[in-house]
């Protein structure tokens, strides 16, 4: 009466298996939902925001959430908190994408070359990466912004530079593992150009660990942008960013806590979501472990 073999073990493609494993835990689904909501918020902020995030109304200062016409209340200058939060999501998203982009741009190719070719390529690039890694990440970003001047672009570049050695390390390690595989050896033995090997054979095989690293980096980038803006080194007033909202709220914490609570919860939730997604990705790629 048995119905062996089950269809699943036979036909499940790697992609389907990944999706099944990733969407299994509720935390992953929830985190993904949070990120999607912020993605939509960031893209559609001009249409979703009930008010102009910069328009002040001194007569409507420090309204509590759920006040008349202001779902999340207003700040010390009477600006709508929800609108600022939505526009702040744009800044956070832009900062994350740009800095991760800079990190990939600077880290990926040297890592592939170093991993595949070894020799002096590896020696030179790895020492540079070690040097960059020896700085505490936020301190390095602070120093870069300090020299280049405080604005969002510089802050994003600075965070990107922080990512370069981290991406480099992950990709290089993955490349080192792949280069020993026989299909690479075979490819080289028939004279395939290095660039082709990298693109065709190595890159697809390092994407999984890279994807995990990228999602974790998103979380860090959002946190770092908030930190820099909190310190006045990122987004310049009056433009909203979650970090600058927090800093403005903190200055008047005594009068009302809401302008602190709202951006804080937002940053915590978003960074947590990035990290949960990162963990979920790392659990869902590669071979199935410990399952019957």
């Amino acid at each position: 009466m048995s119905v062996l073999p089950t269809t699943r073990t036979v036909v499940e493609s790697p992609r389907r298996r990944f999706v099944r494993r990733f969407t299994g835990p509720w935390a992953n689904r929830f985190a993904l939902l949070v990120l999607l909501v912020w993605l939509v918020a960031a893209v559609a902020a001009p249409w979703l925001a009930p008010y102009d995030p910069l328009v002040q109304d001194i007569d409507a200062r420090r309204l509590a959430p759920l006040s008349d016409g202001h779902l999340l209340g207003t700040d010390a200058l009477g600006r709508d908190t929800l609108s600022r939060l939505l526009y702040g999501a744009r800044v956070a998203g832009l900062a994350a994408i740009t800095s991760v982009g800079v990190g990939l741009l600077g880290g990926l190719v040297p890592a592939l070359l170093a991993g595949l070719l070894r020799g002096w390529w590896d020696a030179v690039f790895s020492r540079i990466a070690d040097a960059l890694l020896s700085f505490p990440p936020l301190l390095l970003a602070l120093a870069i912004v300090g020299v280049m001047g405080p604005n969002l672009t510089n802050a994003m570049l600075a965070i990107g530079v922080v990512f370069v050695p981290r991406f480099y390390r992950v990709v290089r390690a993955a490349t080192l593992a792949v280069r020993e595989e026989t299909f690479i050896e075979a490819s080289r033995s028939i004279g395939t150009p290095t660039a082709w090997i990298l693109r065709r054979h190595v890159l697809p095989n390092v994407l999984s660990p890279l994807a995990v690293q990228i999602s974790l980096a998103f979380g860090f980038a959002i946190l770092a942008e908030s930190s820099l803006s909190f310190l006045g080194l990122g987004v310049q007033p009056p433009d909203p960013s979650w970090g600058s909202m927090l800093s403005e709220g903190r200055a008047a914490w005594f009068y009302t806590p809401w302008p602190v609570i709202v951006p804080t919860v937002t940053v915590v939730l978003t960074v947590l979501a990035c990290n949960v997604v990162g963990d979920g990705l790392s659990d869902s790629v590669g071979r199935e472990k410990g399952r019957a």
Binding site: R61, P238, F254
Partner: protein, 509 residues
């Protein structure tokens, strides 16, 4: 049974607390060895009172340099290193009789020669006080305890002028050579209540009390530790967690400061004011119509409410409303009127607006002020970009040409003529554009020839009119500032000028 001792202890505690806070300040005799820890928002850029570029350095420098003349809490002149002074009948010579038997930190005796050397140095072209002392032609040593200032025009203003940086006395040895003068920037050498023992420039200073200081009533401490934190909340937290005994309280922090248990807040509206000041060589600011338009486009009440929690006063001119110089003549130059502002811009050919960059301090009050001004200027089509810089760099950078205008605090000056000379005299180093309003010199000279207060007030009001008709500055708000001190601190009184000198302040055990 066990409850009784606990209750008794509680009652004792309540009693002690009640006693401790009664009167708002400590009881008993001050401890002469106590070290007062003060935390505030800015340090000193230089310990050279004559060659510094920041008038606000007075806040730190008054601890280590006595002046010829001192000020009381009401901003009136009282004897300092000079025991007395007198004018000639035409106010064209001013004679100081110096205190005898004093010497500088390095042992050099203080006498008329030393005073002359200092006054001459304060008049050198690169001195911050040069324009304030432009009425002085020469300085004569009459005898070892008397100096005479020969003036080119009546100089009623000079007495209070010499109670500021201009009147600080530095040991002549300390500026005898260029190298020595350079060292003066980081270490003081004067006669004062304290000497500088340790300095992390811009963040932390340790001062030790001078033994046998000449004014026993002014010095009741063994030392003073001076810390700098730009964040006002951090300063308050320092007092509530007993990491500081006193902290500067800015307008928005008065209400939170009043909630700190075991501490007393004393604040008043002072001469320190928030202004928007133009670099007239940049953007569109060479046109007086544009500058006047901005003066009319600012709703100062909104700024007072939004940036200062209503603590202080919306400016109606360059002086607070109860001051002896009236703001009436300039009322229509600074009263909020958007339509007229638009008209003026149109006359200037800028009906489509323009953009400029304003630098400001990273201190929350100033960032908020800038944000409100930005929003108000946007309504008449002017786009203002805000660039916030740390207090240590901001002033210097603006003077070097960063930004087109600055939103900052002008620290209170004991005599109104000092404010005028420092920012509107074309030779003044702080007058970034080196442009002078027409008729300024004559109006100011007239005011400085009158000793009687009411009449002098009228003459100074006329100077104010000259300045604001040229739109040379946008007065914004006056600040209510003061200090919150724990209840061990005695004798603190906020001054009308707005700078806490801590003269006569002590601490009980």
């Amino acid at each position: 049974m066990k409850r009784i001792p606990a209750l008794a202890a509680l009652a004792c505690l309540a009693l002690t607390a009640a006693c401790g806070s009664s009167g708002g300040s400590g009881s008993g005799d001050p401890d002469p060895n106590a070290v007062l820890r003060y935390t505030t928002s800015a340090g000193a850029t230089s310990f050279d009172p004559h060659k510094t570029v920041a008038a606000s350095d007075f806040i730190v420098l008054n601890l280590v340099y006595d002046r010829l003349v001192h000020q009381d809490a009401q901003g009136q002149p009282v004897p300092g290193l000079a025991e007395s002074w007198e004018f000639s009948d035409d106010f064209k010579t001013l004679t100081f009789h110096l205190r005898e038997g004093l010497s500088f930190e390095d042992g050099t005796p203080f006498d008329a020669e030393a005073a002359k050397a200092n006054l001459d140095r304060a008049r050198e072209p690169d001195s911050i006080s040069a324009s304030l002392l432009s009425a002085v032609d020469s300085v004569d040593v009459v005898d070892p305890a008397t100096v005479k200032l020969n003036l080119n025009s009546p100089g009623v203003h000079l007495v209070l002028t010499l109670s500021d940086l201009a009147g600080m006395m530095v040991s002549p040895k300390a500026f005898a050579t260029p190298d020595a003068a350079k060292a003066l920037a980081t270490d003081s050498d004067g006669i004062g209540r304290f000497t500088l023992a340790e300095a992390d420039p811009g963040s932390h200073y340790v001062f030790e009390a001078v033994k046998d200081y000449w004014d026993k009533d002014a010095l009741k401490l063994g030392g003073l530790e001076f810390s700098v934190a730009t964040d006002p909340q951090t300063n308050l937290n320092a007092v509530s967690s007993d990491q500081a005994d006193c902290a500067l309280v800015s307008p928005a922090m008065i209400a939170p400061a009043e909630q700190i248990p075991g501490a007393t807040t004393r604040a008043r509206t002072v001469l320190t004011q928030t202004v928007l000041y133009f670099n007239q060589t940049k953007s569109e600011f060479d046109d007086p119509l544009v500058r006047r338009a901005i003066n009319l486009a600012i709703d100062r009440d909104a700024i007072l409410e939004g940036a200062q929690e209503g603590k202080g006063e919306a400016s109606q001119g360059l002086f607070p409303s109860d001051y002896f110089v009236s703001n009436d003549p300039v009322a229509d130059l600074v009263t909020y009127n958007q339509d007229e502002a638009r008209d003026l811009l149109k006359q200037a050919g800028l009906e489509k607006g323009f953009s400029f960059t304003a630098v400001t301090l990273t201190i929350p009050q100033f960032v908020t002020t800038a944000e409100i001004i930005k929003a108000q200027l946007a309504e008449i089509g002017i786009d203002m970009e805000i660039k916030a810089l740390p207090p240590a760099d901001m002033g210097v950078n603006f003077l070097k040409g960063t930004g087109d205008a600055v939103i900052t605090a002008w620290t209170g000056r004991p005599d109104p003529s000092m404010l005028f000379s420092a920012y509107f005299d074309e030779a003044a180093p702080q007058n970034v554009s080196h442009v002078e309003p027409e008729g300024f010199d004559e109006a100011l000279a007239a005011a400085n020839a009158i000793e009687e207060t009411a009449a002098r007030g009228d003459a100074l009001a006329a100077v104010q009119k000259v300045v604001l008709e040229a739109g040379a500055v946008v007065p914004v708000t006056f600040n209510q500032v003061g200090t919150v001190c724990n209840d061990r601190v005695t004798g603190y009184e906020p001054t009308v000028v707005g700078i806490s000198e801590f003269r006569g302040v002590g601490m009980t055990d």
